[in-house]
């Protein structure tokens, strides 16, 4: 779901699996780079959050981040 603030986007961030021991540190760095509404899934090494569109590149620069992408919308699969 889009955040209430129109210039913000929901994102899914994949963390390098080799960085499992640093997950908390990486999440703190993401928050410092503008990520909020953070939900961390340690077993998946995935972090969901919300960020202003202009801060996407800042998230990508955090050490240990493998990818950052805008969330997709999923629908029921009835034609």
């Amino acid at each position: 779901m889009p955040d209430d603030t129109s210039d913000k986007v929901d994102v899914t961030i994949r963390i390098e699996t080799a960085q499992a021991g640093r997950l908390d540190e990486i999440v703190r760095a993401l928050v410092a780079s503008g990520l909020d509404r953070v939900e961390s899934h340690a077993r998946f090494m995935i972090v969901n959050g919300c960020v202003s569109a202009g801060s996407l590149d800042a998230l990508r620069k955090v050490k240990g981040v493998a990818s950052v992408r805008k969330d997709e919308t999923y629908r029921t699969q009835t034609p």
């Binding site: 994949r14 998946f44 990818s67 999923y74 029921t76 699969q77 034609p79």
Partner: protein
Amino acid sequence: MADSDHAGDVPRLGTVVRFTPQAAGTGVRKLESGGFRVASSRDFRNAAAVPNNFGGADVQYFERFGIAIVRHDGARLAPLVEQAMRERVVTSVRPEVVYRALSEVRRSEAPVTSLAQFEETSVTWGLEVTKVALSTLSGAGIKVAVLDTGFDKDHQDFRGRSITRKLFASHSSEDDTQGHGTHCVGTACGPQRPTSGPRYGIAYEAAIYAGKVLGDDGNGTDRSVIAGMDWALDQGCQIISMSLGSAAEVGDQPNADFEQIGRVCLDGGSVVIAAAGNESSRPGNIAPVGSPANATTIMAVAALDRALAPASFSCGGINPGQDVDIAAPGVDVLSSLPGNRYGRKNGTSMATPHVSGVAALIAQSDVKFRGRALWEGLLELAGPLPHPARDVGKGLLLAPHQVVVASADRRWWQVFGFGRA
């Protein structure tokens, strides 16, 4: 057939008759008036041991279950049962079977045929064609997560079931306002004997974990879907059913996030089963499998129609490495709807819970079927179809059999059409 209870060391099997609950006494009296000697399980309640042959009686009657096993099923039983079924005193008859521990899953040897003309008097066409109706497995002890639009836990067909619900979708109620989730849960985990209509549910004793990851508008995002998957693993679900997706374009790569998530699920002993997508307009246009089903670590399910052909809308393995894994009934699928209703839906959404329910049966059969082994078990059982793997993967979903049917005399079932020779 010989009248002895044993032929060498092989027990001679009989016929299992199930009475209508209110008419069990009438049914027993009919058997007695037909000359059958009936022994009741009650007669042996205080005995140290119950003899296998109930003291030589013709009929062993288990009043608690309303079931009788007829040992001496000669020519005189046929007209009695036929009449009792017409009078609704008897609801079903089947051959007695021998149970054994499974070391490997085995599929039914009954032929796969089109069900274009199949009338759903006792089971839906989907359960018929996948041989679920022939399986004695129930999903007992297995946890199935259905991540969808929610679930009507108060539906009359799910009373007494183990149900856990959790809301993940934003700005949504806890109810299944779409009806889609209740339909999918119904197919995967619905009852053996619904309140109304034919049987539509597969794993009727599985524990249900309904995560509402799609909102009241039928949509969800990565946040809710991934959170639901994480929750399902936390709960120990062996199967995660996801009748949801996002369309992919020709040339798209799989979503690397779901590649990783699916792998973690498999490593954790859970199989993620997802809808391939409905963007095709066959025969002219076949759209690629959508996300997340296009991840190689998530099982992609295509939809079949009653002729066992790919449904017109069902996506195919167009993008390299993003294949359909298996196909299941996905057209004209009857299942539960909120408010004690029932209804029919189409979609790879409907095919997916067929696979999830059968996965629960396989998982029940042996604890070794978890994660990748369960994935392989599903594909190993699949029956061939005369269609490209691009459209149907390994073929038609088929349910496992845990039983060995040892009765050699199938004349009964041929005469009355209760099974195949």
